[in-house]
């Protein structure tokens, strides 16, 4: 067994891997929250429920319609995105001019309904979802065994996160988005359809959660409360990172996953709370968050 300074490298790298996987999900979810916050200035409390819905849609597509994992990976986020567009158009927009706390409460209500409905239909114990055949098995590295599916989670979520970052920072569409974040009235004055961009942004931000849900289906069991547990952690991550930057949201997500993984190895009792404790420290030292812009 490979050890350095009495540390079992095999176990340590295993926990680091788990941390990176959790971090990938944190990054996808907080990225979605940050994009939505940028333009709409609201926090979508239903982001966790949409992640749960993504996993359930993948399971339903496979079991009721025979749609395999790869198609689900494309179709489910689109379906979730469309659902989110309807949600934005008919529920969120009517109260867009009220205090933003109301939209937090509204999306909280939506999350309760979704979670309650799925608990009612499928019960609270999880449903299994098979890893697709192409990604079964694993690779043996010098000091760890890397299951292919886990590597796939990390790679695919990184690709999605950084292409989103690239689109927002480097393309014309992204420029509209950033301009809308700064001053929507002025942008509308230039003849750009701001309500449309707002709706599409909301749809895309939520679709990211749906994508994360499909990715998560084979590694975590598909259960109605999978969303609410992860969402509160993601909220803490958003406070840690601050919502000022897209890149910051991605980086903080990954970083916190790794911190959690390391804690699981060195002091497992604190692994559920370490991110919240980290948030406390950040609040004391830099209240605006690591990447936050506001004073």
């Amino acid at each position: 067994m490979a050890t350095i300074f009495g540390i079992n490298l095999f176990a340590l790298s295993g926990q680091l891997l788990v941390g990176l996987i959790n971090g990938s999900f944190y990054a996808l979810l907080s990225l979605g929250l940050a994009i939505i916050f940028g333009l709409l200035k609201i926090i979508n409390f239903a982001q966790g429920a949409m992640y749960m819905l993504g996993a359930f849609f993948a399971w339903m597509a496979l079991n009721y319609m025979g749609i395999n994992y790869w198609w689900a990976l494309i179709l489910v986020p689109i379906a979730i995105g469309l659902l989110a567009i309807l949600m934005e158009r008919f529920l969120v927009r009517p109260i867009a001019n009220e205090d933003h706390l109301y939209s937090l409460l509204l999306t909280f209500g939506i999350a309760l309904v979704l979670q309650g409905a799925f608990t009612h239909i499928y019960g609270s114990s999880g449903l299994p979802y098979q890893i697709p055949d192409e990604l079964k098995g694993g690779t043996k590295l010098p000091f760890m065994y890397l299951p292919n599916y886990r590597a796939w989670i990390i790679v695919s979520s990184l690709v999605v996160c950084f292409s989103t970052w690239w689109v927002i920072e480097k393309t014309k569409l992204g420029a509209y988005l950033r301009a809308g974040t700064e001053n929507p009235q002025l942008m509308q004055g230039f003849g750009i359809n701001v309500p449309l961009i707002t709706t599409l942004t909301f749809g895309f931000g939520v679709a990211l959660a749906g994508f994360a849900g499909v990715l998560a289906a084979p590694v975590y069991s598909v259960s109605p409360d999978m969303g609410s547990n992860i969402l509160i952690v993601v909220f803490a991550i958003v406070v840690i990172g601050g919502m000022g930057s897209i890149g910051g949201a991605i980086l903080t997500g990954l970083m916190m996953g790794v911190v959690e993984g390391l804690t699981k190895f060195f002091y497992p009792e604190a692994s559920t709370t370490v991110i919240f404790l980290f948030m406390v420290i950040v609040l004391l030292v830099k209240p605006a968050g690591l990447f936050g812009k506001e004073a």
Binding site: L101, L105, G109, L112, V113, G116, H120, I232, L284
Partner: protein, 308 residues
């Protein structure tokens, strides 16, 4: 003087109620009403949405439960300890949370409450998933046996009236006026020389201590302190009670707690138990979309429109 008659009427109703309605249900209602009133002090009068008030309800409950189980102290001391404990936790959490505003405040309090949840899940003294069961009610001041539901009811009623009076006093004091000024226009309050964060902090401590008082009392009533009380669900429930009843009104949380507790009681018995979350969620959505002033707020508007 109209309002005094209303108070008098309510007190008379509260005094005769236990001979008409099951006292344990009434006590549950009073505990949640106090919890919602404490929460409303922050949301309604300072404009701070705390999404983590379950932490204080639960902390009060666990401290009282632990002391009543492990030591021989009398219930009023147990409740006092729970209240002080929740207030201290509120002092720490509040100091951190007031550093951020608006939506961030909600997220910070939610995350801090989750920290408390995991603490009570893992701590050696809190009984993990089972919670603290079989908490004795004891004898008030060592004299009045509280195991009788009627005696307990009047004790709970006295606690509720005390808490309600304290909130009423706070809101109508010069301190309360400054809180409202912060809610209405924070930059102006700053420019008038008020240290806004300190005012928010003190309001947070009062609110969390009273939430702890509600939790301690609830533990004695049900002789149980459990994880349900610290779960984020509970934090959401108190938001719903206040929103439904009418935030920023004195009676709103009382009405909201009454409606929510009644709905839960109606649904929990039968096959509809699974629907509780769905119903709660739908009420949330309807409240936010259609009547943000809540039941009491809308009623007041109606009265103003028609009888003024």
């Amino acid at each position: 003087m109209k309002i005094n008659k209303l108070y008098l009427f309510l007190i008379v109703v509260a005094l005769v109620a236990p001979s008409l309605v099951y006292p344990v249900f009434l006590m549950k209602l009073l505990c949640f009403a106090l919890f919602a009133c404490a929460f409303n002090l922050l949301l309604g009068f300072v404009g701070l949405l705390s999404f983590g008030h379950a932490a204080f309800l639960g902390t009060g409950g666990y401290i009282t439960g632990y002391l009543m189980l492990e030591t021989g102290i009398t219930p009023e001391l147990g409740i006092l300890a729970g209240t002080v404990g929740a207030g201290l936790l509120g002092a720490i959490y509040g100091k951190l949370a007031v550093k951020r505003e608006g939506i961030y405040f909600a997220m910070v309090t939610l995350a801090l409450a989750q920290l408390a949840f995991f603490f009570y899940l893992q701590a050696p003294f809190s009984g993990g998933e089972d919670g603290l069961q079989g908490v004795r009610r004891g004898a008030l001041f060592g004299l009045i046996d509280l195991s009788d539901n009627f005696a307990m009811y009047y004790f709970v009623l006295a606690i509720f009236i005390f808490g309600f009076w304290l909130i009423h006093r706070t809101v109508h004091s010069p301190f309360g006026q400054i809180l409202k000024a912060i809610r209405e226009n924070e930059p102006r309050a700053v420019s008038l020389g008020y240290n806004v964060n300190d005012y928010k902090w003190v309001a947070f401590i009062i609110s969390s201590a009273l939430a702890g008082l509600a939790g301690s009392t609830k533990t004695l009533v049900f002789q149980l302190a459990s994880l349900t009380d610290v779960h984020w669900h509970m934090s959401g429930e108190v938001v719903l009670m206040t929103l439904l009843g009418g935030m920023g009104t004195i009676f709103g949380p009382l009405v909201g707690a009454g409606v929510v507790v009644s709905i839960q009681n109606l649904l929990s018995g039968g096959e509809l138990g699974n629907y509780i979350n769905i119903v709660m969620g739908v009420i949330f959505i309807i409240c936010v979309l259609a009547f943000r002033s809540g039941l009491v707020g809308e009623f007041q508007k109606l009265m103003k429109k028609n009888f003024n």
